[in-house]
């Protein structure tokens, strides 16, 4: 009973801190009373105090016993360790702040980048088991990566492949815009058609109501919509009674049958989903690519199995005589599958992984630096530790002391890192595929953060702990200022860390350098048109209205040219497909001619300053009643008419018997989809004036004034023909061009930032080592100088040491960067993966940093007055 009571009290006392002060006060009053009594007894004050002290016995021994009595010993020592560690850390605020901040930066940025990678590539929000969702990829012969746009017939095959695919669905991008009119406001909504199983493929469940049935995915039965959560909130204020209500889209009534959960937004930026309701005959068309096909693999099926299944299908199609409309076998046609997340991320995938690698490097450097600092501190405290060891502190206790400091630092760094990550995620998510990012930190990421912290604790905590555990108190006590075994091991370890840091930093610097050079070349690339002073807007009015709108816009002051185009270059929309050249047979083993397609009105080429190479531009005379004409770009001309004049040749887009288009002009190539990823695919242009069309089209207006001043002009012109039509995507052409490089620019900037941090940290590490060496060898310097060594030779000693370390690091770094260069080769632009200029420049920069980092402490060594140092010993 007594023991229990005591344990409880002891435990509770752990949380009280007043004990120590009270004890001190109590003991002091005890001694004072003794002193007073002694004085009263006739002693002199000094003698009285001396006698009182003798009588009391060891003051600290009493306190120690008191403390032992007070606490639960194990917990108490553990807490003691931490308290001691905290005190030590607080005594060196400079060191602690630097350590925590660097750690926070390292862990924070790592966590942020990882959370982004996780969200984009591993666990996209709103999708169940994203690793089982694949996208179909169609490829024509040598067409490189292929496209995720496939044909209805391919969809039917995949949909029937139930042994491989649990669900299959498609979204149909064509005609997916819808005007929603409520009161005065006209809203342009993105309302793609999707097939019935779309939501099953992604495992997306509606928050309210239901999703489409098979029956509703039929022409005529498809007047139903599922709202995205954001649209529901925006248009209906989150009214739950919206289910069953009717909304009007571009004049047609649709019944709202469901509201999707807030996380699921596929396809990207979707406002609401409509049933695709493709007419049945379309599903026989093998080569009419228009659908994005997504499918969910059966749980037991791997991606490789799905691919080989699709490969069998491709072979069957190629050999089985599926007839293309023009009657030629599509020999080089094939279909394959890609993880859905990869198809969404596109080139961002490499960027993300690259950033992940880069921040990983930075974290490593951070850890190495802190390990270096800790080792330096171990050295500085060698004497203190030796004294403690000599006084009987067990090795374990010393070891625990060192580890406690690391744990405290890592905890503080981890917490601060979490804060950094929270702040950095929204910034970084600019990099995620546009719109898909609902950036946030989740449990996975928190786990990563904890793991990163633990790893850094182990990494930089163990080195000094290991040092302490190999501690030789005797040597340390004897040899302050002189080299001893433990000391030189420590220095070697630190040098090793510095070499590693330098290598990592150089690798980052070179990688960043390659990206900077790529960006510079890319910005200098001519996209094939001149975006300066060009304004664009998108809207959908019948093409018969285009001349009236153009007339109004051209009348505005400053406007020099205007025309329509669809799709707008650099807007990441694409149209195209195979065509046939009249009078030419294609060998069954060759792929059919294929090209991108753009529809334009006269004035477009002039507005975009796309140069005419041969023949003529379209004119107002190329109208519906005239002969159908086309223009091609130089790439198409070179590819299919390499040794002849394409002018006057005719191409056919449909089966034999359908109209042919005569080539009247050859123009310059426009990069597509942007300058980075220019496929080099040729383009043929059709005249919008020869086509009855109601879909979206972009207006392109060239002005000698501020292009944004045209916003009102364009809106007014559209209103004059149809007041109910919304005008959207009002961007300058320069916006489009800048946006196409935005991701790369961001990645390059981040890489540059990481590389600069790495350089700084590596220099800091080197500075630490050299600076410590100078302190250690102060005596030696003194003797050298006293014996007549020139200042320059002393300087050379230290700068040379720093330079040697850095040079080894540079050597390793160059080899590593050559390897990494090969990995990122496909993302570099007009710069070799091993670019001697970049390597040399960056190595020089690093060595310069190293020289500076060694020069500064070495200069301090020279200020040493030999007499002072020698006497100091």
């Amino acid at each position: 009973m007594k023991a229990l009571r005591r344990s409880l009290r002891r435990f509770l006392d752990l949380f009280r801190n007043s004990g120590e002060d009270e004890l001190a006060a109590e003991l002091e009053s005890h001694i004072e009373m003794q002193v007073e009594d002694n004085v009263r007894g006739g002693m002199s004050p000094e003698e009285a105090r001396r006698q009182a002290a003798i009588k009391f016995g060891g003051l600290d021994a009493a306190k120690e016993m008191y403390r032992d009595q007070r606490g639960v010993v194990f917990l108490e020592t553990a807490i003691g360790d931490f308290r001691q560690a905290a005190r030590t850390l607080l005594r060196n605020p400079g060191f602690s702040v630097v350590a925590v901040l660097t750690l926070a930066g390292g862990i924070g940025v790592n966590t942020a980048v990882f959370s982004l990678v996780d969200q984009v590539l591993i666990h996209p929000p709103g999708i169940d088991d994203a690793d089982r969702v694949v996208a179909a990829v169609t490829r024509y012969g040598n067409q490189g990566r292929g496209t995720t746009i496939s044909s209805p017939r391919t969809f039917r095959d995949i949909h029937e492949g139930r042994e491989i695919f649990e669900h299959a669905a498609f979204s149909d991008g064509s005609g997916s815009g819808a005007n929603y009119i409520a009161g005065d406001t006209v809203d342009r909504l993105y309302a793609p058609g999707v097939s019935a199983e779309w939501f099953d493929v992604f495992g997306a469940r509606p928050m309210l109501g239901r999703v489409f049935t098979e029956e509703e995915d039929k022409p005529g039965a498809n007047r139903v919509v599922v709202l995205s959560h954001a649209t529901w909130m925006r248009l209906f204020g989150g009214d739950r009674a919206v289910i069953g209500r009717t909304m009007s889209l571009t004049g047609e009534p649709y019944q709202i049958i469901g509201v999707m959960n807030p996380e699921f937004r596929v396809p990207r930026n979707v406002d609401l989903w409509r049933p695709a309701a493709l007419p049945a005959p379309l599903f026989d068309q093998r080569f009419n690519e228009r659908l994005f096909i997504a499918a969910r693999l059966r749980p037991e099926v791997s991606l490789a199995q799905a691919r080989s299944w699709l490969n069998v299908l491709s072979n069957r199609v190629r050999n089985g005589g599926d007839q293309i409309e023009s009657g030629v076998q599509a020999r080089a046609w094939s279909v394959s599958a890609l993880p859905f997340t990869d198809s969404e991320a596109g080139t961002n995938k490499t960027f993300l992984l690259l950033l992940l690698g880069a921040v990983g490097f930075v974290l490593l450097i951070v850890c190495a630096n802190i390990a270096g600092l800790m080792i330096a501190r171990t050295s500085a405290r060698a004497r203190e530790l030796a004294v403690r060891a000599a006084l009987g502190a067990s090795r374990v206790r010393l070891w625990r002391g060192a580890l406690s400091e690391s744990v405290l630092l890592a905890l503080a760094g981890g917490l601060a890192g979490l804060a950094v990550a929270t702040a950095a995620v929204p910034l970084l998510s600019l990099l995620a595929p546009a719109g898909a990012s609902t950036a946030r930190l989740d449990l996975n990421v928190l786990g990563f953060c904890v793991a990163a912290t633990l790893a850094s604790v182990l990494f930089f905590g163990l080195a000094p702990a290991w040092q302490v555990s190999r501690f030789y108190p005797k040597g340390a006590l004897q040899g302050e200022g002189r080299t001893n075994t433990a000391e030189s091991t420590r220095q070697r370890l630190r040098s090793l860390l510095v070499v590693g840091e330098t290598a990592l930093a150089l690798t980052l610097l070179i990688t960043a350098g390659l990206f900077v050079r790529s960006l510079v070349s890319l910005q200098a690339v001519n996209p094939g048109f001149n975006p300066e002073g060009v304004m664009t807007a998108t809207f959908s009015v019948p093409s018969s209205n285009y001349p009236r709108i153009l007339e109004r816009v051209r009348a505005a002051p400053g406007v020099t040219a205007a025309g329509f185009v669809w799709p707008i270059p650099f807007s990441y929309n694409n149209q195209g497909g195979v065509f046939a050249i009249e009078g030419r047979t294609v060998s069954p083993t060759d792929p059919l001619p294929n090209a991108d397609r753009r529809r334009i009105t006269p004035g477009y080429m002039e507005a975009m300053s796309i140069p005419l190479k041969r023949g003529r531009y379209f004119t107002e005379n190329d109208h519906a009643n005239a002969e159908p004409v086309t223009m091609i770009d130089e790439n198409l001309a070179v590819r299919y008419w390499p040794n002849e004049n394409p002018l006057g040749q005719r191409i056919r887009l449909g089966p034999p018997g359908t109209p042919t288009f005569t080539i009247v002009g050859v123009v310059g190539h426009v990069a597509h989809p942007d300058v980075v990823n220019d496929t080099g695919t040729g383009v043929y242009y059709l005249s919008l004036l020869q086509d009855q069309r109601t879909g979206s089209a972009g207006i392109i207006v060239k002005t000698s004034r501020d292009p944004l001043a045209l916003v009102g002009v364009i809106r007014e012109a559209v209103r004059s023909v149809d007041p109910s039509q919304p005008v959207f995507s009002l961007n300058t052409m320069e916006d489009y061009v800048a946006a196409s490089l935005a991701n790369r620019r961001f990645v390059t900037r981040l890489l540059g930032f990481f590389a600069a941090s790495a350089l700084f940290l590596a220099a800091l590490g080197l500075y630490g080592v050299i600076s410590y060496g100078v302190t250690q060898r102060r005596r030696e310097i003194g003797i050298r100088v006293a014996l007549g060594a020139g200042r320059s030779s002393v300087m050379k000693l230290f700068v040379g040491q720093g330079f040697r370390l850095a040079a080894i690091g540079v050597g390793i770094g160059i080899v590593a960067s050559a390897y990494i260069g090969r990995l990122i080769e496909s993302h570099l632009y007009q710069v070799a993966s091993f670019d001697p200029a970049t390597v040399a420049g960056m190595a020089a920069m690093l060595l310069l940093g190293a020289l500076l980092a060694s020069y500064l402490p070495a200069r301090r060594a020279l200020r040493v007055e030999p007499v002072v140092t020698l006497r100091h010993e």
Partner: protein, 113 residues
């Protein structure tokens, strides 16, 4: 906290309780003086060892303490015996009495042989 100090603590604890029981609330120095007077030089060298014992007794609830002012106006911590302490003291005294008897009998055994 070796076994040896447990015996020492036990002895000292009993003396503390006895003193407080007999003389009422006292500060640490007072207790030390009193024990010194009654026990000769038992505590004269190492008064500091008293404090862990006081703490232990307080943790066990046998004594309680509060801060007060001494006769010559010095801040001091006063200890007093609690009800539980009195009960403990009675038990301990009986124990000691018994131990003492046994020891005496053993000692007598040695003398008589």
């Amino acid at each position: 906290m070796s076994k040896k100090s447990d015996v020492w603590q036990g002895t000292l604890a009993l003396m503390v309780l006895k003193t407080l029981n007999a003389l009422g609330p006292m500060h640490g120095y007072g207790i030390a003086r009193r024990i010194e007077q009654t026990s000769g030089d038992l505590l004269s060298i190492n008064q500091g060892t008293l404090y862990p014992v006081l703490l232990k007794l307080e943790q066990e609830g046998s004594i309680a303490s509060e801060w007060g002012v001494s006769d010559n106006n010095r801040k001091a911590r006063y200890y007093r015996i609690t009800k539980a302490g009195k009960k403990d003291l009675a038990v301990e005294e009986r124990e000691w009495q018994r131990t003492k008897d046994i020891i005496r009998r053993f000692s007598a055994l040695g003398e008589s042989s």
